[in-house]
């Protein structure tokens, strides 16, 4: 009996073993080759673009050199001028960098362009449904804590003041004389309160913020801004009345929960 394995047998062995345990890795996944004709990244090229948008430049590079591209969002910079001589890959990097994007080449042969956010005016995409799901995921990750949707969320500080009122006189006196107390020096109920303060400060701040955002974006398209009267004054010289309004964003969630967020104070002159 001879156990001799040829390289071909070895390859089959590996494929069989991998696909039997991980069915997603079917033979067509393992051996499919992408793309049909991969661009020659080392090919020397010259690019001259005058006052063109990222989209126009990507279209040209895609058409001329067979590069498949996926670019996220839209750049802050509308149009630019680029003159460059180098490899195809370097040229793509230059174009991407000009629009504040980074390049990644994927196994599929597609190139993806993601923003680098070096431009202080640039923002991530603000898609309400995606951000709301992000908030839901954050709430799934963070430990359960009572929610404080005020801004800033400072429930832990309120708890700490309540804890201070329950501290024994000898500990208060000691602290006033500059002494500090270890956790083990405290009574069990103070220890529990301290642990609650610590846990809320650790996770409750972030959790409350995501909870608030989740509610603010609940049925976002149906949400409204309201002007709420705060006060008024009459100018002595002109007799005109100027009224101050607080503008609030109000979201009415699917479960009937209402959350209001103050956006700022506005003034308007009453028209008589």
């Amino acid at each position: 009996m001879r156990y001799v394995t040829t390289p071909g047998q070895l390859a089959c062995w590996l494929v069989m073993a991998a696909t039997s345990v991980c069915p997603q890795l079917r033979a067509d996944t393992l051996i499919y080759s992408e793309p049909a004709s991969s661009p020659d990244w080392a090919k020397p090229i010259e690019i001259h673009y005058k006052g063109l948008s990222l989209q126009a430049i990507l279209k040209d590079i895609s058409d001329r050199y067979g590069v498949s591209v996926l670019a996220d969002g839209a750049p802050v910079l509308g149009k630019t001028t680029i003159d460059f001589k180098g490899t195809l890959r370097d040229s793509l990097d230059i174009v991407a960098d000009a629009f504040d994007y980074a390049v990644s080449v994927h196994k599929s042969g597609i190139v993806s362009l993601m923003k680098k956010f070096n431009d202080p005016d640039d923002l991530p995409q603000l898609v309400p449904a995606e951000i709301r799901q992000t908030a839901a995921d954050m709430l799934a990750i963070l430990p359960d804590q009572p929610s404080d949707t005020s801004d800033p969320p400072l429930l832990w500080a309120s708890w700490l003041r309540q804890l201070a009122r329950r501290l024994p006189a000898d500990i208060l006196d000691g602290m006033k004389n500059g002494k500090s107390y270890a956790f083990s020096d405290l009574t069990p109920d103070i220890q529990r309160s301290l642990a609650d303060v610590l846990a809320w400060r650790a996770f409750g701040v972030a959790r409350s913020a995501w909870d608030r955002l989740y509610r603010q974006l609940d049925r976002f398209e149906q949400s409204t801004l309201h002007a709420k009267k705060k006060g008024a004054f009459i100018a002595a010289d002109t007799g005109k009345t100027t009224t101050s309004y607080s503008v609030l964003h109000q979201a009415n969630g699917v479960n009937g929960a209402v959350i209001e967020t103050e956006l700022g104070i506005f003034q308007r002159e009453e028209i008589k």
């Binding site: 991998a18 498949s68 923003k115 923002l123």
Partner: protein, 276 residues
């Protein structure tokens, strides 16, 4: 001798197979746990598609792929409105889906015959609290991770504090949204008391979302950056004392915590006892 060599070879084969299996799930990371039911059903994933779409939503991309490949690709509600530009020529559906998922850290999976779903990854609460920063990073959309300059938590040094700069950027951004909204709404509320989001211009809508999102995002930077903070310690690693001329109750870390930190709040003592 030959048998002994053969035995070694067999051991080598097993080791190589084990290595392949260890790597396999990573290669299939973009896909779901559901296995495709048959190779024939999967052939549509090998259909080569082309896309020439500027600044469209993922829903538009999915519609184009579905039409070309004779299948149904469903983007979930959470991902369908993200905007992209796609210039793709002759790439398989599987290649396009893998690239989208690698780019956005999403997943795709087969829902039923010829029907596939594109979605965010499933995130569950960790057993170990120390994994929370890592999972929060994963939950954040990829462009937000870049915006917030999230560090690689595997290589970040414990005493590095990177979250404050990101929090400042978040705060500056929220004020930009608020200022934009204020200037564009001043006239609106001269003549009415209520204004629906659906009536807003795209710019006003973006300003409102900017204000709402970044007001909340900066509260998570300490965790997202895993900066030294309360989430890293146990209650037994805390001492209490008075600070700020005896008006603040302080929680400080014990000397064994490195890097140490403290936090507290104002507590007043008008007659020897603290009051709220």
């Amino acid at each position: 001798m030959r048998l002994r060599n053969a035995g070694r070879f067999r051991t080598l084969n097993l080791l190589l197979a084990a290595t392949a299996l260890a790597v396999a799930p990573k290669a299939a990371r973009c896909q779901s746990d559901q296995a495709p039911s048959s190779a024939t059903e999967d052939t549509k994933l090998n259909t080569r598609v082309s896309l020439a779409l500027d600044s469209v939503t993922l829903a538009d991309i999915a519609a184009s792929i579905s039409k070309q490949a004779g299948m149904t690709l469903i983007p979930s509600a959470a991902v369908r409105d993200r905007r992209v530009t796609a210039r793709v020529t002759g790439i398989s559906v599987r290649g396009v889906l893998d690239t989208i998922c690698e780019t956005y850290d999403w997943r795709w999976y087969r829902q039923s015959q010829d029907s596939y779903v594109l979605d965010r990854r499933i995130i569950r609460r960790p057993q170990d609290l120390s994994r929370i920063p890592e999972l929060m990073q994963t939950a954040l959309p990829v462009d937000f991770r870049m915006f917030a300059s999230l560090p690689n938590l595997k290589t970040k040094k414990p005493d590095e504090r990177t979250g404050q700069t990101a929090a400042q950027r978040s705060v500056q951004t929220k004020f930009r949204g608020m200022n934009g909204l204020r200037s564009s709404l001043t006239g609106v509320f001269n003549s009415r008391d209520s204004f629906g989001v659906q009536e807003m211009s795209p710019r006003q809508r973006e300003d409102l979302l900017t204000w709402l999102v970044f007001t909340n995002l900066d509260r998570s930077m300490e965790l997202l950056h895993n900066d030294a903070g309360p989430h890293q310690i146990r209650p037994t690693q805390i001492t209490i004392s008075l600070g700020n001329k005896n008006t603040g109750l302080m929680l400080n870390t014990t000397p064994d915590v490195n890097p140490g930190f403290g936090f507290g709040t104002q507590v007043f003592f008008p007659d020897g006892r603290p009051v709220p």
